[in-house]
Amino acid sequence: MQTVKMVVTGPFNAGKTAFIRSVSEIDVVATERRITSEAEKVKETTTVAMDFGRITVDDDLVLYLFGTPGQKRFDFMWEILSEGMLGFIVMVDSTRPETFREARSILQTFRAYAPTPYVVAANKQDMKDAWELEDMRLALRLDPKVKLLPCVAHKKESVKAVLLELLYSILAEMEAGDA
């Protein structure tokens, strides 16, 4: 059995767990704990080690999706999770500009771990407070070549679109390497 993995990363409460849940064929193996810090109480629980989802491709191939913990104090997990990844997705909450700087820092950290293809998913685009994609691109200081995709993490079709774009990027990079 061959296995490959992709990593879903991003700041706290960006929607990483929801993203994996939307497409995983198994109940996501989540390592959530109740939040104790008042400052971070925008949700009840948070991922402390990793989320783990699976998509069986065929008899011979399985794709694993790993979600990283969003809180800074668990960032020692990031490097371990990034080892051997095919590519990664940076989730950003479009309604919380206060997390953009952290998202950029996470993106740079993962780029340093492995120069694999990646996409940025602008989550919660269905909410009225969501920033426009082009504004987010400027705020996140993303190169025009970086794919910044609208996303609603709890909608399967939206998550599929993000995963496909990442796979297209991986394929394009492989083909560019051949040329």
Binding site: V4, V23, V57, D58, G84, D129, A130, E132, L163, L167
Partner: protein, 275 residues
């Protein structure tokens, strides 16, 4: 959709940069500490600025920029209080008191000064109201934002440079081993002395900042100065674990064959499509 947030996370310079690059038209409302600023932009250029309780009438601006005297200002306030800025401007030009250039350059100076003041705001909420511009009676200008952004960036650059020089506050400081250097002969500020008194390989810079009640920027400034003066150097704190050895990176693909790798990615694409 919304373009709003907090100045703690998004500086004025970043906002101006965004408005400039996206060539936005509308009004940026910033609720700062104690007052509110409204800055209007037309196609990414500064058009108008108004600061909270300040008298932003043309007469007041002309007085502030010394185009008219205090007595002329009082006279205008009494006799032309019902006139719009545009009407007053036309009146002054037609009467030969001022030229159009005088008025426009006064307004530009005034608006730019407001933006300069905003650079000092680090707390507050902002929101951008698209397509909202000042009323018809107001005179607008067209000022490129680039120079203002550069000016604001200088302040930001200092912070970024300090972060580069001192990337982690979890490191410690120790005095450099330079025989003959006597601290007492060096003129240090009170803040620098306070930091110096805590220099010890057991104390992290963060702990020193906490003890001396300095924020990240302040402690970095002081430490940077001490490093530049050759008094201290950055060391790993005593008792801290050594850095992790580099482990060979796991391979993303289970096969080294390029064609098999492509086939694998295509299988993944087909599977995701079929979900």
């Amino acid at each position: 959709m919304a373009l709003k947030g907090n100045l703690r996370d998004f500086s004025i310079t970043q906002l101006l940069n965004l408005i400039n690059l996206a060539q936005k038209t509308g009004t940026l409302v910033i609720e700062g500490p104690g007052e509110t600023a409204q800055i209007a932009f037309r196609q990414g250029k500064l058009a108008y600025a108004q600061l909270g309780g300040e008298d932003g009438s043309l007469a007041a601006i002309l007085h502030q920029t010394r185009r008219i005297s205090a007595s002329q200002y009082r006279l205008l306030k009494e006799r032309a209080s019902t006139m719009s800025d545009k009407e007053l401007g036309l009146l002054l030009i037609n009467a030969g008191y001022l030229t159009q250039d005088d008025i426009l350059s006064s307004l530009q100076t005034y608006f730019i000064n407001i933006i300069r003041r905003l650079f000092t705001w680090v707390e507050g909420f902002f929101r951008f109201e698209p397509d909202t511009l000042p009323g018809d009676g107001k005179i607008t200008v067209r000022v490129d934002l680039e120079n203002l952004i550069i000016e604001g960036s200088r302040q930001l650059r200092e912070w970024e440079q300090l972060q580069e020089e001192i990337p982690s506050l979890d490191m410690a400081l120790k005095f450099t081993e330079r025989p003959g250097t006597n601290l007492r002969n060096i003129s240090l500020s009170v803040e620098e002395w306070r930091v110096v008194s805590y220099v010890n390989p057991r104390n992290t810079i963060r702990q020193i900042a906490r003890a001396t009640k300095m924020n990240d920027l302040e402690i970095r400034r002081v430490v940077y100065g001490l490093i530049q003066a050759g008094l201290v150097e950055i060391v790993r704190p005593e008792g801290a674990p050594p850095p992790r050895p580099q482990v060979p990176q796991a391979r993303p693909f289970p096969t080294a064959d390029k064609n098999e790798q492509k086939s694998l990615v295509n299988r993944l694409i087909n599977r995701i499509r079929s979900l």
